[in-house]
């Protein structure tokens, strides 16, 4: 019966309760939607990092990571590694890459670039970069002509290049001799990461291996795409154990900033919500203190007729939890609906495009939140409701019933 009384009690002063409930509703709405935007942004960034930039796992000669010299290849064990990768069911696709730094020169300008020598059909199965070439922006490496190169839009802008423009790459070959070759731009891609687009170019592995005086079977990097990202740690451990001389890293280790985002975003979002709830908790404490003050005589009467302290505490705690939960549920439902709507329409932040793209974030955001977030948030709201009731309830428990009954 105390549960029912507590619920009825919160509607005694409708205006005051509604003010608190609305404050909680809008607090939670703002918190939930902000969290959804942040989570959506981070999820998109992580997804893009894996699908277009790092893949799930990369394998290198450890010395290559230290010195970035093309002589540090994966060779001696590559056959065995290839066989292993082909037989691992978790590995959806893998792509061997020649990877080196070069100077990219156009008629107008020059800049440093990272050149990826790839086998197009293998690379297309690992990286979705080929999908980022618009219809009027050419094609991915298709082997129709020799010396094709795919570049990013930001690099094209920087070097003033267009489709079918000529770009000269100069670099050191495997013997340390200065070498170079002219390439034709066959495709221009555009991701949401303008820094990535400005830096990375793609050429045919066979062709670049000849120019580098390298064995085309050798690679500086092998990128792995997994069927299920959840198996990443296990696959990484298996490969590291099977090939102790190679460096096997997952995308979180390759891109630690995005990796940290993935690992700590949830904690950060919960802290963000906890701060909002804490602020709202003080509002609830204030309301409950008013309630105790107004109902001093009634609380005295209840104690006098035999309602024990545990029940008085429970009643006040329930009122506080009901207030919090009513507002929170309304806020979460509204936040969820707003999230669903904006996830459907997307949020266009193209006015902030330059800043966002430099950080690798998309300008079209799709907010996202999972069910676990709402479950945890509900538990946090109940927790804050209980915490907010402790001080007012203690005040109520200290009332002397004989004095309280005579209060006006």
């Amino acid at each position: 019966m105390i549960w029912i009384i507590a619920w009825k009690n919160i509607w005694r002063n409708k205006v005051r309760s509604l003010v608190v409930i609305l404050a909680i509703t809008f607090g939670l709405l703002g918190g939930v939607f902000s969290s959804a935007v942040m989570k959506g942004m981070a999820e998109q960034r992580m997804k893009e990092a894996v699908s277009r930039e790092t893949a799930h796992i990369q394998i290198h000669n450890p010395k290559y990571i230290e010195d970035n010299e093309i002589k540090y290849t994966i060779d001696g064990e590559s056959m065995k590694l290839a066989e292993t990768l082909d037989t691992m069911p978790q590995v959806k696709a893998w792509s061997p890459r020649i990877k080196f730094l070069a100077m990219g020169n156009s008629a107008n300008a020059s800049t440093g670039v990272m050149v990826y020598g790839v086998i197009p059909e293998k690379e297309e199965a690992v990286s979705e970069l080929w999908t980022m070439i618009c219809d009027s922006c050419g094609t991915y490496l298709n082997g129709e002509k020799p010396n094709q190169i795919v570049i990013g839009e930001a690099l094209a802008r920087k070097l003033n290049l267009k489709l079918r423009s000529k770009v000269v790459l100069t670099f050191q070959d495997a013997q340390g001799n200065l070498s170079g070759a002219a390439f034709r731009v066959c495709g221009i891609y555009r991701t949401n990461n303008s820094v990535f687009d400005e830096m990375n170019v793609y050429v045919n592995k066979q062709e670049i291996a000849q120019l580098l005086a390298m064995d085309p079977a050798q690679s500086q990097e092998i990128a792995l795409r997994l069927s299920d990202g959840e198996t990443m740690d296990r696959v990484q451990q298996e490969l590291a154990a099977g090939f102790p001389d190679l460096l096997v890293r997952n995308w979180k280790q390759i891109d630690p900033v995005t990796g940290m985002l993935a690992d700590f975003l949830d904690v950060y979002l919960y802290m963000f919500m906890a701060i909002i709830l804490l602020a709202l908790g003080f509002g609830i404490i204030n309301t409950m203190l008013m309630v105790i003050l107004e109902r001093t005589r009634e609380l005295g009467m209840l104690t006098a007729i035999g309602m024990n302290k545990r029940r008085v505490f429970l009643m006040i705690m329930l009122e506080s939890v009901y207030l919090s939960l009513t507002g929170a549920i309304a806020g979460m439902v509204l936040g969820y609906l707003l999230t669903i709507y904006t996830a459907w329409t997307g949020i266009d932040l193209s006015s902030l495009a330059e800043g966002f793209e430099k950080l690798g974030y998309p300008t079209m955001l799709y907010p996202y939140l999972d069910l676990n977030f709402f479950i945890t948030l509900t538990a946090m709201v109940i927790g804050i409701g209980i915490l907010a009731s402790i001080y007012p309830a203690r005040k109520a428990l200290k009332l002397n019933p004989a004095d309280a009954i005579r209060t006006d």
Binding site: M1, I5, K8, N9, W11, R12, R297, E298, M301, L302, T303, A304, I305, G306, M307, N308, K309, R311, N400, P401, A402, I405
Partner: protein, 230 residues
């Protein structure tokens, strides 16, 4: 048989610099089925005596035995439980729970005692009928007159099957018709069901109905007159 025995009861308040002797050596006994009024001028100690009798305050000296239990020695937790099961309260300002109906107000105390829903319902309806409110069971206190609210309070006090009922100025806020009505109901319950009522009052209408009148002055009993035995 005495259900309440008060021996050498003293209550001294030391809140201010001067100690106030609210009760100054009270010796009283109440039997089952009494209909007693405690009267006296303001400051005579009526309310203090009722508070100590009801276990809402503790004596400075002396003892109160209720059915051989010295309530002054009970812990706070046990005292609350003792009040729930042994003492019924009727307050001057009715003190009903405003969000509950008349029926729910009466039922509530039985829910604290752990009675089943069915038992609570049966007894609450019986009691509301006994106080003449069978047709107002679903009314909230705000929809009832003062007299009706006080009758609900009497039904609530009876609901827990207490050993006695303490009523602090129960008619102070009632008009003469409501007072008469309430007193008739309480007298009837006293006569027919041997329920013990102890009032503190200034109201001569209550005094006239009482079967025993205890007069206090300066914290002492100055007269104790019975008009009829319980």
């Amino acid at each position: 048989m005495n259900i309440i025995e008060i021996k050498d009861l003293k209550k001294i308040y030391n809140d201010s610099e001067i100690a106030v002797h609210a009760l100054n050596g009270i010796n009283l006994a109440f039997q089952q089925g009494e209909f007693a009024a405690i009267v006296g001028p303001s400051g005579s100690g009526k309310t203090t005596l009722l508070n100590i009798l009801g276990g809402l305050d503790v004596p400075s000296e002396g003892s109160i035995q209720i059915d051989d239990i010295n309530i002054g020695e009970l812990s706070s937790r046990k005292l609350i439980n003792f009040r729930l099961n042994n003492i019924g309260f009727v307050f001057q300002s009715y003190n009903l729970i405003p969000v509950l109906t008349a029926y729910e107000n009466v039922e509530f105390i039985m829910s604290l005692q752990g009675y089943s829903k069915e038992k609570r319902k049966r007894r609450a309806l019986e009691l509301l009928e006994a106080v003449g409110l069978a047709d107002r069971v679903n009314s909230r206190p705000s929809r009832l007159s003062g007299g009706q609210q006080q009758r609900v309070a009497v039904a609530r006090a009876l609901a827990s099957r207490p050993k006695f009922i303490l009523a602090d100025e129960p008619t102070a806020n009632l008009d003469s018709v409501s007072t008469e009505n309430l007193l008739d109901i309480m007298e009837k319950l006293n006569l027919e069901e041997k329920i013990t009522f102890i009032f503190s009052t200034h109201d001569q209408r209550v005094v006239k109905k009482a079967h025993r009148v205890v007069t206090l002055e300066d914290g002492k009993v100055i007269s104790d007159e019975s008009t009829q035995s319980p």
